[in-house]
Amino acid sequence: MIRLSRQRIEELKRFLQETKVDRVLLPELLDHLACEVEERLWEGEPFEEVLAALRGEVTVAVVQDLNHNPLKLLAMNASMNEIIFEGRNKAYGAYVLRSRYPRNIRIALMCVLLLMALAVALPKIFGTEGSGKVTDRMVETDLERIFLKEQEPEVVLPPPVREAVPVQKQVRYLPPEVVTDLVEETPLPTIEQMETAQISAQNVEGENFTEDLILPPTEMVGPAKGDVIELKGMEEKEFLKAEQQPEYEGGSEAFRKFLEKNLRYPPQAARANVQGKVFLQFSVMTDGSIANVEVIKGIGYGCDEEAVRVVRLMPKWRPGKQAGRPVRVRYTLPIQFALAE
């Protein structure tokens, strides 16, 4: 087999770039062409001839077709017209009418829009000409003196004096709260303390609580947890590829070690001598946790279940980021099962 030199490959790449191929498609198409050229060289054709042949085959039109809609099916490749008129008389006229139809429609639309714009603009054009004819006139008017009534000062009422409400005795009794750091603990009040006081969010020394004195309950509000700003739009969307891809905390080396430590070869797979890759897909949430683990391609014999188990075992990842914000990313991960020789 003949291997193409780097120089030849560059030449092919330049040729492909001339056809304005999409950057995403370039490596794949380059490899395809290189394979084809290698094959033809092997068959004895000179390089220049092969390249000339390819120029005929891989035209700008073909590549553009791939570019514009890389997901286009072959069935859609030929336009509807080509399908209808395959093997029929194209010269008769209907084919020409049909194929020119989109262009004609576009031209017609442009014309209509232009006319509309002209129609709207016309009065303005004439309007500016007409304004010159209006002559200015002077009208004399006598100004009367206006006397303003003096305003009486508003009577400011003193604020109503509120009767002093006797403060009730209160005891701090909050529902327990899970905290990460050990905070100063307030001992729970004893039953005796609570019997003579009202339950509230803070300790207030005051009058003993009695049944016959009913006061509005003090507000049960815990300390504020700071402002929480939620960016729902970003979080709800799941990315297939983020600007900054999620990563195992510690990088690929740490991940390899983690796998080595935790991945066990399923005995039935080892017995059946099954090897290969299990492809998993999972969501890396904004906080780095792993969810929705799914096997998209497995090799069976317990390997799929083992791979899922280990992935669920993983510590939190570094979440993917889009525009600097952590986002949910769907991540595909191959896990290799290989038996030692």
């Binding site: 490596p27 198409l29 490899d31 077709d65 286009k72 072959l74 998209i296 595909t332």
Partner: protein, 121 residues
């Protein structure tokens, strides 16, 4: 002699199935390998063109039937395609469907009856 390759008309509807079926058979292939395999198996009767194959591969990938892996070979990135579990199931169904369709076509072309009369030379 160059074989007649104007089969595009028939190829259009079946290309997807052909690709799925080939991948089910071979496991992992890249684009050029697929064209060569088709050419070889049909002795050159069917040749897939550049512009026909890749849209189908990309479409199938988008639909979640195929999985891709890029591997560096001779300094070039080679994109390998293989079937996902969903792709394997679809390949099965599609191949069976096509088989039934071909049988029906055979009956249509060979005349009223299901029997095929061998032509005498």
């Amino acid at each position: 002699m160059k074989p007649v390759t104007n089969n595009n008309e028939y190829l259009r509807g079946t290309l997807k199935t052909i690709v799925l079926n080939l991948l089910a058979e071979k496991g992992r292939m890249y684009g050029y390998e697929i064209t060569q395999e088709v050419k070889e198996q049909t002795q050159g009767t069917i040749t897939l063109t550049f512009g026909a194959l890749y849209p189908v591969l990309h479409k199938l990938e988008q639909e979640g039937m195929l999985l891709t892996e890029s591997v560096e070979v001779d300094g070039r990135l080679r994109k390998y395609y293989s079937l996902t579990n969903q792709g394997t199931a679809t390949a099965d169904v599609k191949t069976q469907e096509l088989g039934r369709f071909l049988d029906a076509l055979q009956q249509l072309i060979s005349g009223a009856g299901p029997r095929v009369i061998p032509a005498t030379v």
